[in-house]
Amino acid sequence: MQKNHLIELLTQKDNRKKKSKIPARLDFLQSATGAVLVLFIMFHLLFESSILLGKDAMYALTKAFELDFVFKGGEPLFIAFLAFGVFVVFILHALLAMRKFPSSYREYSAYRLHAKMIQHEDTSLWFIQITTGFMMFFLGSIHLYTMMTQPDKIGPFASADRIYSDTMWPMYLLLLVSVVLHASVGLYRLIIKWGWFEREKSKWMIKAATIFYLGIGLVSLGVYMKIGYEHRGEYGKRYTVEANK
C-alpha cells in the first residue's frame, strides 16, 4: 500500500494537503459522456426512422454507414466498430452516473417522500432519469451487443425480421421510451448544470423534441412491425433494390 494513499484515506487530502481533483474529472466526464450519447441518439433515431421514407432510403443509408462508397457492397464491420465505441461510452456513462443513484433505502425513501411533498417538476423528473437509466443498463446492452455481433443484419427486411419474427419489439419499445426520456431529462440537466442556455426556453424546446423523437420512433417501430409481418414467410431473405423494383 502506498503511503500517499494512506494519507488520503485518513485525511481525505493528499500529501500536500490538497483535495483530490478526481471528483471534478468524474463530474465533467459524466456530463461529457452524457452529451456524446445524447448527440448520438438524436442522429440514430433520425437514421433508423429513414424507413418512413421507404425501404430504399433505409437501405441506402445502411449501406452508406457500411461505407459502400469506399468498399463495394459495404463492410458491416464499421457498424460493429461504431457500436463498440458507443458501448464503451455507454458503460463509462453508466459507471459515472451510478454515483448519483440513491445508494440505500434511506436515500431512496427520503427522495420519494420529498418529491411527493414538494410537487416540483425538476425534482420529480429525476425519478424518470434514474428509472430509465436503470432500465437501459439491460436494454441498451442487449441492443448494442446485437449490433456489435450481428452488424450485417441491418436493413429493411433484416431489421424488420429481428423486430417482428425474433420478437425483439417489446425490448425495442421499452428501449425507445427509456432512451428518449433519459436523453431528454439528461440534456435538460446538462443545460442548467453548466448554465449553457436559458432554463425555461430550454425546457420548452426539449419537451417539443421529446414528443418529436417519441413520435418518429414509435411510428417507425410500427412500420418495421408491418414490414416484418408481411415478410414473415421469407424470414432471413435480404432486401435488394433490384428485387423490389
Binding site: S20, K21, A24, D27, H120, T123, K193, G195
Partner: protein, 246 residues
C-alpha cells in the same frame, strides 16, 4: 364548505405538525386550528393569533415579520416558504398544512435550528473576505466597478432562511451536502476583488461530492428561494470554475 363573513373574513383551517422531540411522551401528530381569515392576513399573523388566543403551546420562529431575517421559514402545503411573506388568501380552499423545515434539527412543532447548520456552513466555506496581503487602514479601500458591486450585493441578499436546503432533494438524501446557500456564499466571495483567494483555494472548500459536484441540478433551491436569488447561475458559475482547476 367554509363560512364567509360579511366583512370579507372567511373560516380557514391551519393544520399544524405538532411534536416535541425532547419530550419522550410527545407523539408526532397534526392538529387543526380553525380561524377567521382577515384581509391581508399572513401566515405569521394567523400563527400569532393561534398562539395568543387558542394554543399557547404551539411553537414557531419569527423575528422581523418582513421577510428579512429568514426565521419563519416552514413548509406550507408542501412548499418551503416564509410565513411572514405568505398570504392566507393564496389558498382558495382555506386549508393550510404547516410543517417544520426538513433537513434541519427539529426543535418543536414548526421550530427548527437553522443556526447550527449556517454557522458550520460559514466556517466550512470560509464565508468571509480573505486577503493576506498587507493592508493599510489609513488609505481608502480600492473601489469596485459599480456593476460588479451590484452583482455581489445581489448575492449578499441571501437571508439564510434554509428554504434552499429544505427544497433540495440532494440535501434531503445526502445530509453533508453544503447546499445552494453555501455555494452562493462561495460565488459571492469568488466575485469580490477584495478577496484574494484563487480558484485552487476555493476548490479546497467545495471541490467534492459534498460541495459543488454533489449538486444534481434539481433546482428546488432556485424555484423556492424567497429572495429570488439567481442560484442556478451561481452554481453553474462555480462548477465551471472548479472543474477547470488543475
Amino acid at each position: 364548505m367554509h363560512r364567509v363573513y360579511e366583512d370579507g373574513g372567511r373560516e380557514i383551517v391551519l393544520t399544524i405538525f405538532r411534536h416535541n422531540p425532547n419530550d419522550e411522551d410527545s407523539i408526532p401528530h397534526f392538529q387543526d386550528y380553525p380561524i377567521i381569515e382577515r384581509p391581508g392576513m399572513t401566515l405569521y399573523i394567523a400563527l400569532t393569533q393561534i398562539y395568543t388566543s387558542m394554543d399557547h403551546d404551539v411553537s414557531f420562529d419569527f423575528v422581523c415579520r418582513a421577510g428579512i431575517c429568514g426565521s419563519c421559514a416552514m413548509v406550507v402545503n408542501g412548499k418551503p416558504r416564509l410565513a411572514c411573506r405568505t398570504l392566507t388568501s393564496e389558498f382558495s380552499e382555506g386549508k393550510i398544512t404547516l410543517l417544520p423545515l426538513p433537513t434541519f434539527q427539529h426543535i418543536k412543532d414548526l421550530s427548527v435550528d437553522t443556526g447550527t447548520f449556517m454557522n458550520a456552513m460559514t466556517k466550512r466555506v470560509e464565508g468571509w473576505i480573505v486577503n493576506n496581503s498587507p493592508q493599510d487602514i489609513s488609505t481608502i479601500e480600492k473601489p469596485i466597478d459599480p456593476e460588479l458591486s451590484d452583482e455581489i450585493f445581489e448575492l449578499d441578499r441571501c437571508i439564510e432562511c434554509g428554504i434552499c436546503l429544505a427544497s433540495c432533494a440532494t440535501k434531503v438524501m445526502r445530509p453533508n451536502f453544503v447546499g445552494a446557500v453555501g455555494l452562493n456564499r462561495v460565488a459571492r466571495f469568488s466575485l469580490d476583488p477584495h478577496d484574494s483567494r484563487s480558484d485552487e483555494e476555493f476548490y479546497e472548500l467545495i471541490g467534492d461530492d459534498d460541495g459543488i459536484f454533489g449538486c444534481m441540478s434539481f433546482m428546488g433551491c432556485q424555484d423556492h428561494c424567497p429572495k429570488h436569488l439567481p442560484l442556478q447561475k451561481q452554481i453553474a458559475y462555480m462548477r465551471n470554475k472548479m472543474v477547470k482547476v488543475r
